[in-house]
Subunit: 202 residues, 4 copies
C-alpha cells in the first residue's frame, strides 16, 4: 500500500510537470507590429519552443515509463527510497524551466548546456534511486535481474555530460545527442541493443 501512494504521488507530479511545460507555449499576443497575431507566421517564433516541448515530453514519458517498470519490480518502500524518489522529482520539476529557456532563446549555447545539465542530474538521481531500491530488495531481486548490465542507464548520463561542453561548439551536436538518447530509450530495436551491448563489453 505504501508503494501505491508513492507511485500515485510520482504520477501526479510527472503529469503536472508535463502539462505545465505546455504553458511555455504562449498564445501570441498583439504587439505594436502585429495587432492581430492570427496567422501561421505568428507561430513561427514558437517553433523552437514547440520542438523543445516535444523533446521534453518524450523524456518525461520515458521517465514515467521506466519509473513505472522499476516500481513494478519493487516490493517494499523505505524512507531512503522515498527521498531518492523526491530527489528525482526535483530535477524533473526543472524541465519546464530549462525547456522554456532553451526554446525561447532558439537553442542558444548556454540554455542548451543548462538543459543538458538538468538531464544529467535527473539521470544521476534516477541511478541513485535504482541503487537504493536494489540495496533494499537484495542483489538477487527481480529488479536487479531485470536491469542487468544497464548499459542504457550508464551510457545516457555520459552522453548528457558530453553534450554540455559541446553546446559551446555547436548546439546541434548537443541537441543531436539529446535526440539520440531519447530514441535509444524509445526504440525497442533488439539489434541496436545487442550491438551496443557488444560495444559495452569491449
Amino acid at each position: 500500500m505504501e508503494k501505491n501512494r508513492l507511485e500515485a504521488f510520482s504520477d501526479g507530479v510527472i503529469a503536472i510537470i508535463i502539462t505545465i511545460m505546455v504553458l511555455e507555449l504562449k498564445v501570441p499576443h498583439p504587439t505594436e507590429q502585429v495587432s492581430r497575431p492570427d496567422k501561421l507566421t505568428d507561430l513561427k517564433e514558437l517553433l523552437p519552443v514547440f520542438l523543445s516541448y516535444i523533446l521534453s515530453f518524450i523524456y518525461l514519458g520515458i521517465y514515467w515509463n521506466n519509473h513505472h517498470h522499476m516500481f513494478h519490480a519493487t516490493k517494499h518502500v523505505t524512507g531512503g527510497i522515498l527521498w531518492a524518489n523526491l530527489h528525482l522529482l526535483f530535477w524533473l520539476s526543472l524541465f519546464p524551466f530549462t525547456t522554456g529557456w532553451m526554446g525561447e532563446n532558439h537553442l542558444a549555447p548556454t540554455p542548451t548546456a543548462v538543459y543538458g545539465f538538468v538531464l544529467l542530474m535527473a539521470a544521476v538521481a534516477y541511478y541513485i534511486l535504482q541503487r537504493r531500491i536494489i540495496a533494499s530488495q537484495g542483489r538477487d531481486s527481480l529488479l536487479a535481474a531485470a536491469i542487468g548490465k544497464d548499459w542504457k542507464g550508464k551510457l545516457s548520463p555520459a552522453l548528457y555530460f558530453a553534450a554540455i561542453p559541446f553546446a559551446f561548439v555547436s548546439v546541434w551536436i548537443s541537441n543531436g545527442l539529446f535526440v539520440f538518447v531519447a530514441l535509444m530509450w524509445l526504440v525497442p530495436d533488439r539489434r541496436i541493443e545487442r550491438a551496443l551491448q557488444q560495444h559495452a563489453k569491449e
Copy 2:
C-alpha cells in the same frame, strides 16, 4: 495493476489539461481606457475565449469518457500501448494552446484551422491507440466487439479534416462541424445512431 497506473496517469494529465485551459480565461486587468474593469461589458472581450473553453471542455470530457470505456475493456498493457497513450496525451496537451489562440483571435480562420488540425491529430492518435489495444487483446476481444463498426470514430476525423480548409471559407462552417461532432458523441440518441449507421452501410 499496470493498467491502473496508466489510467491514473491519463486521468491526471486530462484533469490538468482541462483545468489549465481555464487559465486562458484571464481576469480583465486595468488598462489606460478602463481603470476599473468590473462591469459585465469588460467580460465581452472574453466571450469567444469562454465559448471555445466550453467546446474544448466537452471534447476533453468525451475523450476522458471514451478512454475510460476503452481501458475498461482492456486486460493487459504493453509497451506499445503505453506509448500510443502518451502520443494521445501529447495532442490533448495542445488543446489549451489552440483553444486560447482561437478564442483570443475571435475565431479567426488560421487559429480555427489549427484547432481543427489538433482535433484531427488527437482523433488519429486515439485511433492508433485503439488499434494497438485490439491487436494485443485479439480481434475477438471485448473491445473489438464493443466498438463494432465504429462509424463515429471514422466519421469524426473526416469531419475535422474537412473543417481545416473550410475555416478559410467561413469559420462558422468549421466551428459548426466541431460542435456537430461533439454533439454526435454527447447525445446518445439511438435513432441518429441507427440512421447514420444505415448511411455508413450504403
Copy 3:
C-alpha cells in the same frame, strides 16, 4: 472500479482548481512607485483577493466533502452520471476566474453578482447530479435516505440566487450570504440544523 476512476478524476480536477486559485494571489512586482515591494503594506492590495481565496477554498472543500459522501453511497455509475459530474466540474472550474475577478476589483457589485451566479450554477449542477444518482440507485437507496429532506441543498441555491441582485444594493449583503451558506455547511451544529428544519416544515 468505474466509480473509483470517476472519483479519482473528480478529486484531481478539484485539487487542481483549488491550487490554481492561489495563482491569482500574485507576488507583488516592482512598479514605478515601489521599486522593492517587500513590505507588509505591499500585500494590502492583495487582501480582498486573499479573503475571496479563503471563501472559495472553503466552498471547494465543502464540494469535495459532499461529493465524497455522495459517491460513497453510490453503487454503480452510468453515462448520465458521468456527464452530470463533468457538468458540475465545469462550473467549479470557473471558481478561480470569478474569485480572482471579485478579489481584484475589491468586491465590486458586478464581479460579486457573477461570483454568486457561478455558485448558483454549481449548486444546480450538484442537484442534477444527485437526482441522476438517486434515479439510477432507486428511491429507497442509501443515498436517498442519507440526504433526507435536503433542506441545505435547497436553501443554498435560493440564497445564492438572492445574493445576485443584492450585490447591486450592497456587496456586503451578498458576501454575507456567501459566508453564511459556507458556515451552514461547515458547522455541524445540530441545534441550528433542527431549528432550520423546523422552519422549513412551516
Copy 4:
C-alpha cells in the same frame, strides 16, 4: 476506502503545490538592457528564487512524507479529520506565494517573516490534524505510540515562531532556522535524535 480518497486528494494537492512553485522560477525575458537573456549571468537574478524553491520543495517533501506515515497509522476518517486535513492543505497552498515573494525580494526581512509565519501555521495545522486523528483512534492507538513524545513536532513550531522576529534582526538567522528544521526532519541520525530527546527531557 474513505481514507484512500483523502490520501489521494492530499497527494494531488501537494503534488500540484510543489509543481506550481516552479512557475515562480520565470524564464528570463528580453528587456531594454538585455535583448537576448541567454547567458548564465541572466540566471543570477533567479538564484534566491531557486534557493527558496529548494527549501520549500524539501519542506513539502517532509510534509508529504509525514502525512503519508500518519495516515498509514490511521484506521478511519471522520468529518473533523477531513476538515483538519483541508486546513493543513490551505496553509501548504500558500507556500508558492511566500516562496516566490521571499525569493524575488532576495530574502528581505518582511517576506522572510511572512514565510516563517506560513510555516508556523502549517505546523500548527499539522499538529491539530494529528490531535484529531489520535482523539478518534484512541490514546493507545498505533499513531499515538508511533509519535511518542513528538519533540520534533513541538520544537519545529517554536523555531518557526522565533524566526519571525529574528527576520528583522538578520534574515540569515531566520533562514538558518528554516534550514535547520528541514535538516532535523530530513536527517534520520539517531544520535542527534537521542541527544535532542535528552535535552527535551531536562
